[in-house]
């Protein structure tokens, strides 16, 4: 199993213990995970993501068998097309974007074009709904959550689009999923990092209604415990305990 939502690097709004690639590899070993897609956490808050991408590839180079760099591509930044091609050449399995942090609205054409272009190169676009619970955010952390409207807009952008949406909860997933055509739904997978387990059993309900194939494993390490989504899978009710997660 691959963790599609991990990062390296510090977080600007609180202390995060040892957010390093070697620590991540130890966590993968301990939790029996095969590998991880890794973003560069500070890059979400940089204006120019290029230096962060360079640092990310450098940090992960010694661990490239297990850790795959997922660079950040900012579609309103000069040279983003070249950055996308470089990401592909460097073997990135996907790219990341943070439209809310860049002030790009839910229907921004540049985001749609990025999603299409990445998809045509066989790279899903990883979106982050939130880094932290709304209730604990720093007073300077004013970006807000990624909206369901933004996700629907990207999912509708074109046939080539593939989205991996991380850190969404049940309500957002349902709002997006049932607001898309079946063909559009197949362009989106969701990680399970922020979905509640028992007793409300949101994950089980989503498996029954949306289908397990629309979900992938993600933890949002190092911000959150990787044990949480694993525990959620372990506590599924019997009727969905054997449901297989989707693939990216």
């Amino acid at each position: 199993m691959i963790d599609v939502s991990t990062f390296v690097g510090p977080y600007p709004f609180r202390y995060v213990p040892h957010p390093t690639p070697d620590a991540l590899v130890r966590v993968l070993d301990r939790e029996q995970l095969e590998g991880a897609w890794v973003g560069h956490l500070p890059s979400a808050f940089y204006r120019d993501p290029a230096p962060g991408n360079a640092e990310l590839f450098g940090m992960l180079r010694p661990f490239s068998a297990r850790l795959k760099a997922v660079p950040t591509i900012r579609p309103d930044w000069p040279g983003c097309e070249a950055a996308l091609r470089e990401a592909k050449s460097a073997g990135a399995p996907a790219i990341r974007a943070y439209p809310v942090h860049w002030g790009l609205g839910p229907h921004d054409q540049r985001m749609r074009e990025l999603a299409i272009a990445a998809g045509e190169l066989g790279m899903p676009l990883v979106l982050t709904v939130r880094f932290e619970d709304l209730r604990q955010r720093h007073s300077l952390d004013v970006a807000g959550d990624l909206s369901a409207a933004a996700i629907r807009s990207l999912a509708r952008a074109g046939d080539s689009v593939r989205l991996v949406v991380t850190s969404a909860g049940r309500e957002m997933i349902e709002e997006v999923h049932w607001g898309l055509t079946p063909a559009e739904q197949r362009r989106v997978v969701w990680d399970i990092a922020w979905i509640w387990g028992p007793p409300e059993d949101h994950l089980a309900k989503l498996f029954r209604t949306v289908g397990g194939e629309r979900f992938v494993f993600g933890s949002q390490w190092p911000l959150r415990l990787v044990q949480a989504p694993l525990a959620n899978l372990d506590l599924l009710p019997d009727d969905v305990r054997r449901v297989s997660l989707g693939r990216v």
Partner: protein, 287 residues
């Protein structure tokens, strides 16, 4: 201590005693059709995790006929009756807090007496009145006299008012706890939203405050910081609304380098110390 994934039907968190000090149950007057399913899911997941005892409360009508955090006296009684009924069915597995609204002081005191006589072992305060309000003192005093810990709903570092509750934080609860040193307070859900680091600093010098680990938040570093600031003897394990995060925190405790005895304190011994003696038959005696 905790078992690996896929360990058959053995408890996922091992067979050592485990007390969830922050659980809730629902009832037919709670305004949701699936209330019995949610209760059953808590028992199902509790068995799978290996929870020895659920210490639970019912929060009035959960907003159906009065607000969750401001329950009317009638809803308080109806909820407590429902909780008494659930606890009476399996007292070895389920113990209860008496929920009260401190704006109705006499009613609150009567409810504590009524429910304690029928087996309640603690008092649950919501967010009906700020924690440091003098109106809470008679309730805290009665709880202290009867040896009942008070579980108080907390927002970790309140920076503004939030709708639907009169929210308190660790500093507010610390003022109440200092005024009532003979009463033990459970500071609710450090993972339940807000800045838990503020809470750890606010509660560090107040030894009759015991934060519980419950809540959906699973920030890395939170458990380490709690133990560093307060020590394992001050922390209680719990789930609240998300049992998956409760199991995750147990597994995390196994990985952050603390002693087995400290883990046992958090799992159940601290709870056994602050609740009335012999509240948890299935856990054995505290050393």
């Amino acid at each position: 201590m905790t078992a690996p994934r896929g360990a058959g039907e053995a408890p996922l968190a091992g067979s050592a005693p485990l007390i969830d000090v922050h659980a809730h149950f629902y009832h037919a007057g709670a305004g949701r059709a699936d209330w019995a399913d949610v209760n059953a899911a808590r028992f199902r997941a509790g068995d799978r995790i290996g929870i020895t005892s659920h210490v639970a409360s019912v929060l009035g009508s959960y907003g159906f006929s009065s607000p969750t955090y401001f329950p009317s006296p009638a809803d308080v009684e109806r909820g407590n009756d429902a909780m008494l009924e659930i606890a009476s069915r399996d007292r070895k597995r389920v113990r209860m807090f008496t929920t009260v609204n401190p704006n109705y002081t006499e009613h609150a005191l009567r409810e504590i007496d009524r429910c304690t006589a029928q087996g309640a072992i603690g008092v649950k305060l919501l967010a009906s009145r700020r924690a440091d309000d003098p109106l809470l003192d008679p309730i805290a005093e009665l709880a202290g006299k009867q040896g009942l810990p008070v579980l108080h709903h907390i927002w970790q570092h309140r920076t503004r008012e939030w709708p639907s509750q009169e929210i308190s934080d660790g500093a507010d609860l610390a003022r109440l706890a200092r005024r009532n040193p003979a009463t033990n307070f459970i500071l609710a859900h450090i993972g339940g939203g807000g800045d838990y680091m503020h809470t750890f600093h606010a509660a560090a010098g107040v030894p009759n405050i015991y934060p519980d680990l419950s809540g959906s938040g699973v920030d890395r570093g939170m458990l380490d910081a709690a133990i560093a600031a307060l020590g394992a003897r001050r922390l209680l394990w719990g789930c609240d609304l998300t049992m998956c995060t409760g199991l995750a925190k147990l597994r995390a405790l196994d990985t952050i380098g603390i002693q087995k005895a400290d883990i046992e304190d958090i799992r159940w011994r601290n709870a056994a110390r602050i609740f009335p003696s012999n509240s948890f038959e299935r856990c054995g005696a505290v050393q």
